[in-house]
Symmetry: D2
Subunit: 334 residues, 4 copies
């Protein structure tokens, strides 16, 4: 694969996921960034916005779209991805990886792919359907909470073991809310603070339910999710529990077996903490049998495995590259 | 009450709860600190340990116990309070407020008081049994998580409404773990980090269950509790939900009615956040009907309403002072 | 003084200093809040903005100014205070405490008071000129960095000891920049981050120089100030050093003597840290003779001794109340 | 260089710098970790200590030293490196990179190399003496503050421009103090806190002075350094200023010229902030002419360019690898 070089374009490159994608692609051994499109920052160097890239690249934000690319990453906001594809005439050969929720599975869709804007989109969770992704042309990249919760529950759904209510609580860092300024992103407010939001009504439940229901035959029980905003910047940690008859050993065997060929999912035998995965593309899982419940702790970096890292993982699969190419990242650890 | 001055002694004054108690009592209009006992710091000024008290007091830690006090606060560790009372000959007239778990309700005890070390201890949650506290001689001060969760559920238990499983997640700041140095209290580890612990097995569940079962006739359902360590110093925020047929309006009416005469419990009509209560003795509650569930968010400062503030509230009740005396604290807010 | 009750009005009550003033005045034994004016929030309860005040007051923001007050606090932005006084017809009997920089000493002013808007303003640093404040009708409350740096240097200036360059570095928390949203107040940016700004050119140098030059006969040397933004919400810590022939003992004697009658300035014999003063009105000083230099560390809570707390201290002086009334605050400590 | 693979051993691998070195070497294209020695953790997997490495390596800590390595990194504490070399019989062919201060330039040494334990040690600051490093056998890796301050001042010293006092303030994150538990590393203490320490007396001044005096002919003026502990984990930011007659343009030209061939030193035209370099091996510099002063802001990640990253950079130079090999790291950015 040494000689392969994928030409990538980024649309909406001035936001957090666009910046993170740049950080990855600039160091990727088999990819190069052909252009970074931004309406708001066109003409300025990308390091004026993503200031850590000073010294790494002289790329400037563009206001026109080049068609001579192999893959296009859409890093625009929810709703804007659909608008973009409706408005643009793209070469049909260009593969698309969309990081918004516009083409993800949702409650109203029942098929295996989402057909929209004249394209079939495959839901891009490699640990669910790597083969489908490898064959796909257009990818809908999963949501961050959705990734952490699905990876916690996939093996149970596959074994038809989700029969009783699932209870999930999860905490997200501030980058999950993007770079727009808001009351809950103000440092003076968020520092040392905790709050919950959208309790039992988070929008990612749609794609989570769609995935899990697609895997198991019996009807999916309710999934109750309490999301929290936490005083940190990167990462998501979720705790899920449900009644389950598996012993500790059986549960561990099931999860090890399910994820044995998936390099980014790691099962920890000891109690983990979020910073083990921060600044990596890993998902760390921990299993605990407590009374009649199985407790699954899952954690990811929301900007990597929860967004741009998973997008690169999908790119690697789309183009037959090694799945971990460009994603062997040094954890920040502290 | 202007002329009343309660003479208070503190045992175990070099820890976090001892220091917080000093901060409160030094400013209390009807109390004075007679002595602060500490084995480890005896002879040194209290401001050498609680450095924010520099300029506020010249008290020194003592290694002998004065008997000429009206009330004794025990701020020693779990287990050490019982040992202390077994070893000491105290004047029977001295009232005792113990902040450890040694004399709290527990699973093995079924009566209304805990009799231990030759004394009857009343569980000191004023919003549960203010009258019993006013008549008591010895108080077992509740745990921090136990306070936050009980205050969320008391009105439901009183109305016999806890019939289905209760699911609770909660996040605590670092001061809850005290001042001893440990891996999870290291700044480099905890900053920006999240972890869960004692999932479905936290020790405070005993006192929570004992209280709630004592209030309602039907058998108490299981209470599933997921505790988290968060990257902040002060405060606890919990989210509890259970199936409940009350409408939003009925739930609010029930809680407003239950807490109408309790000045420290505030019901918020809008989504709250932890820093509304940090550095105060308040408990803030928020109610949300979601589908078949009632969701209750509750939050306290773990060192105040969850420990030393509640201890002073109990002292006020024991001595017939105004319940809020010395506890009208300026929130830090940021 | 038990019977005294000052009627206070607040203009610009929806900002950080306005909120902090409310937190203080609502608990002040000799003051009551007559009204809180806010253009942006008029008609809404103050707890809708300052959410920690929920349960403490039912005051609403007003859009008209009542004249039946004893003192008016101006908490509006720099420039807006002057505009306000030019536009309003206020009863001459109303005392004014302005928290902006509009009426502070500045480079262009040489007299002992600032005359502007038809009024004489006295610079409200009690540790510099308590008697002048007690006689004053209008107060210009000092800036936050200016307070921390002046309190570090006043005793030296009084003794004519500032003859060589003074070098100051200082770090401020995020509340110093107010509640407006900006790139440097975004949580994702500021968390774990450090930056300097206005190096050698901070605007508070004007009032610092004016004070110090007014105290000593010889010409004031240059004062070089490097300000930093730090990842915390409350507080300012400054380190100042200059060549000085005083021994350690002489320096300590000088500072103890200068501040002996000033209850909020505390001199620490051991190395201090910022959280000793957070959520208090104290200024903590530490002295260190190093080679030919005297090093002075000073620290305050920027919203209290650096803004609203000092404003209340000035109110106490204006009305002959005890200087510490309403300002014996529990430190948050953690 | 594709085929080159350096065999590296790590002594003292259970600490912060040892862990960071592992994170780098495990992903390095031209290196492999032969063994990781630790007295305290021998026999345990390295991921038991450096938990983010779970899934990356099955290496275990060893208690014996293998001699079949090309390079040995010493990550033990100050003093222990010297003891180690005195006690061990090492193959003379093994290159050594020591991260302690034991073999750095110090006040008592005047030569170009430090001869100790029968070996010549070259001070490993590549931007000072890359050629000497390339020829060396033993490297003394510079201190973290020393790196940040030297990189700020090297071009001035080279031009003989340090003639007037230099004033430096700098803030370090908690990982600079290592993983041992102490009062100032307790989360409850350090969160939201600031303190200074070793004011005007930091031990890194020795190596800074030695380097700078070695570069310029005139006598080096005094360097006054005020270090701070900040509430963050990674990074050092320093502000240095001294009287200098260079214009802004001349200063920028000088620095650009000095660092043009040094890939890790970046000169920023706009005001920088620490997180631009966190989790990278970069040093970011910013220049500002203010009145008669030149102000230089410099920042590094203390564990990377300030320790283990610089150690790998030195390894690359020792073995003729590309200087940036294994060090093109994704910034954490948030």
């Amino acid at each position: 694969m040494g000689g392969v070089s994928i030409k990538a374009g980024i649309v909406g490159g001035a936001g957090y996921t666009g910046g993170e994608l740049l950080r990855l692609l600039l160091n990727h051994p088999n990819a190069e960034v052909a252009f970074v499109h931004s309406n708001s920052q066109a003409g300025k160097p990308v390091y004026a916005t993503h200031t850590d890239l000073l010294g790494d690249t002289d790329l400037h934000f563009a206001d026109v779209l080049e068609q001579d690319v192999d893959v296009l990453f859409l890093c625009v906001g929810h709703g804007a991805a659909k608008q973009f594809l409706e408005a643009q005439q793209l070469q049909p050969s260009i593969k698309i990886i969309d990081l918004s929720q516009d083409f993800r599975w949702n409650e109203s869709l029942r098929g295996e792919v989402v057909n929209s804007c004249g394209r079939d989109f495959v839901y891009g969770l490699p640990e669910l359907q790597r083969e489908a992704i490898q064959q796909a042309q257009h990818i809908a990249n999963p949501g961050c909470f959705a990734t952490a919760i699905q990876l916690a529950l996939l093996p149970l759904a596959q074994q038809n073991l989700l029969h009783d209510e699932v209870h999930v609580s999860g905490i997200t860092g501030s980058t999950g809310a993007g770079q727009s300024l808001s009351a809950t992103s103000h440092y003076s407010w968020r520092s040392g603070n905790i709050s919950n939001y959208k309790v039992l009504g988070h929008q990612h439940l749609h794609e989570i339910r769609r995935t899990l229901q697609g895997m198991q035959q019996q009807e999916l029980p309710s999934i109750n999710f309490v999301p929290y905003r936490g005083p940190f910047t990167r990462g998501i940690l979720c705790t899920s529990y449900t009644r389950c008859s598996l012993s500790q050993a059986e549960a561990e065997e099931l999860y090890h077996s399910y994820y044995s060929s998936h390099p980014f999912v790691i099962i920890s035998g000891s109690t983990p903490d979020l910073k083990q995965v921060v600044n990596t593309n890993k998902c760390l899982l921990h299993l605990q049998q407590e009374g009649e419940y199985l407790v699954i702790t899952s954690m990811i970096d929301n900007l990597l495995k929860g967004a741009s890292g998973q997008a690169v993982q999908n790119m690697n699969l789309l183009f037959g590259l090694e799945e971990q190419a460009g994603l062997k990242l040094k954890a920040s650890a502290f």
